[in-house]
Amino acid sequence: MNPSYLAVEIRRLFRSMRFLIFVVAFPVVMFLLQANVFTKASAPDHAAVVAVVMVNMMAFGLFAAATTNGTRLALERASGWQRQLRLTPLSGASYLGGKAVSGMLVGLPALLLVPLVAILVEGVHLDGAGWLRVIAGLWLGTIPLVLLGLLIGQIATPESMQPISMIVMLGMGFLGGLWIPLEGMPAWMQDVSQLLPTYWLIGLVRPAVTNELLVSFPTAIAVLAGWTVVLGALVTRRYRKDSARV
């Protein structure tokens, strides 16, 4: 890993308007919107619903950061920058590793801003263990999503990147239960959602905010780890193929 390279990567993302709006502002706005539309302050389960929405929007922000991070790969492939980097001592592993780490780091604004707003504006209250579980759990659980973003970036062109990542993000978001409660969905959709990393990402941290729809913790870990291994292998293979063919 090359720290100065990583620093530039992250600086580049923060310069992008799309990133700031989509990845930083959007999850916060959507959190505030949903926390005031889905539930009334007078409702008995208000606090729990707001906390669930908070977790959902943190996860969404991380996912958006991961795919936006992935778009860089498509651009760098198309522009020939990846070829230029291959003429430096930076190894393929460092390049991909750097992209993965930057995908994790650029998710931090959403991961921290949404709960901050939740505390200050909506009065969400969790204990220390709860916060730790939500923040650390979501952050580490986002690893497969970061890899998914990289894989899309490796396959897509700069033109197709936007629609592809939108479809993946919305599809996996809805079916994973990030936007609407799963219990209202048809049975087949609920079956599909059981396969998605987004579903298990939420499941991983849900016990900190609600007692409903709980999933087995070891299963959540196992499924997310499985996605990580498979996506990691695909990303590596694709990079090898890419660099052999050029």
Binding site: V8, W81, Q84, P89
Partner: protein
């Protein structure tokens, strides 16, 4: 004329060659992009790789840089594999097209690449050598084509490489910036570094290279000093009528000085000559009745095209 730089190179620097390609082949599907290239470049040489589009220049360059694997044959750069040479920071390259990040400033881009290398040259020196100090704080998407090329040049030389490979370096430049570019190139090669540049501007090769390698259809068709290639390329065509021409005339024309090629149709002859004055004097002495003489310049481009496109061009024609 007997010894080309290539054979001299092969003899002197077989061990310490800057670049050595042997039996290099690469095909894409049915297309044999590179079809058996042999080339040795000595340290300190400035070599132009000339050829029309599709001649295999870029594919050859990619293999030298280790960006693509040869199907057959071997590439060594200073005795190492391209990958090892790249990791050691010995190769700097200016690739065709893009290769800049739109959202970084010029200085950030060059600094980023410098940080990836173990022994880069000071950042300001790289910016100054490429002549881009004045635009160092601009983002890449605010640059003209020529300015982008100079930034790519800075990216190529910031690692302080021993071998600089430039693929069509002046493609997006106007005449003025092209001149500026080559001036900064010169200061770089003064320090004894090896340069290989691919181009399809013959004038550029003539003016800036010590040695010219011509490629066509994946092969080296001519390889020699600039003077040798200039002789090939700077030829003229003499057209004339030779009264009573016959087989004997054909033999006579063939023995005239500086004739590179000729065609006799009836009494009309078209002679390609590398030195038309000498050819013409000898022709007039041998055939006093010659009349309707016209001399036309083949033109650099025409000669280059004929050299790189004719099917009957012998490999190594300049040797």
């Amino acid at each position: 004329m007997e010894t080309t730089q290539a054979t001299r190179g092969a003899r002197d620097v077989a061990a310490g060659a800057a670049v050595r390609l042997s039996g290099l082949k690469k095909h894409y599907g049915q297309v044999r992009a590179v079809d058996g290239v042999e080339l040795t470049i000595a340290p300190g040489e400035v070599v132009a790789l000339l050829g029309p589009n599709g001649a295999g220049k870029s594919t050859t360059v990619d293999m030298i840089l280790g960006l693509s694997k040869p199907d057959a044959g071997e590439v060594t750069v200073f005795g190492k594999t391209p990958g090892d040479a790249v990791r050691a920071g010995m190769i700097g390259a200016m690739l065709q097209g893009g290769a800049l990040l739109e959202d970084l400033t010029v200085r950030e881009t060059v600094r980023m690449v410098a940080k990836l290398h173990r022994t880069p040259m000071p950042l300001d020196q790289a910016l100054q050598r490429a002549g881009i100090e004045d635009i160092a704080d601009r983002r890449a998407n605010k640059l003209s084509g020529g300015q982008k090329q100079r930034v790519r040049f800075a990216v190529a030389l910031v690692s302080d490489p021993d071998l600089l490979v430039l693929d069509e370096p002046t493609a997006a430049m106007d005449v003025g910036t092209r001149r500026e570019f080559w001036k900064s190139m010169y200061s770089f090669t003064d320090s004894g570094r090896t340069v290989l540049f691919a181009t399809h501007y013959l004038e550029e090769a003539e003016e800036f290279a010590d040695r010219v390698v011509l490629m066509r259809a994946g092969r080296v068709v001519a390889d020699g000093s600039v003077a040798q290639v200039r002789a090939l390329a700077g030829g003229r065509t003499i057209r004339a009528v030779l009264p009573g021409a016959g087989e004997e005339t054909e033999r006579l024309v063939a023995t005239l000085p500086a004739v590179t090629d000729f065609e006799l149709r009836g009494e009309r002859v078209a002679i390609s000559s590398s030195e038309s004055d000498a050819t013409l004097r000898a022709l007039m002495a041998a055939v006093p009745a010659v009349h309707d003489i016209e001399i036309g310049a083949v033109g650099l481009e025409g000669a280059f095209l004929s050299l790189t496109s004719e099917e009957n061009t012998e490999p190594g024609a300049a040797r």
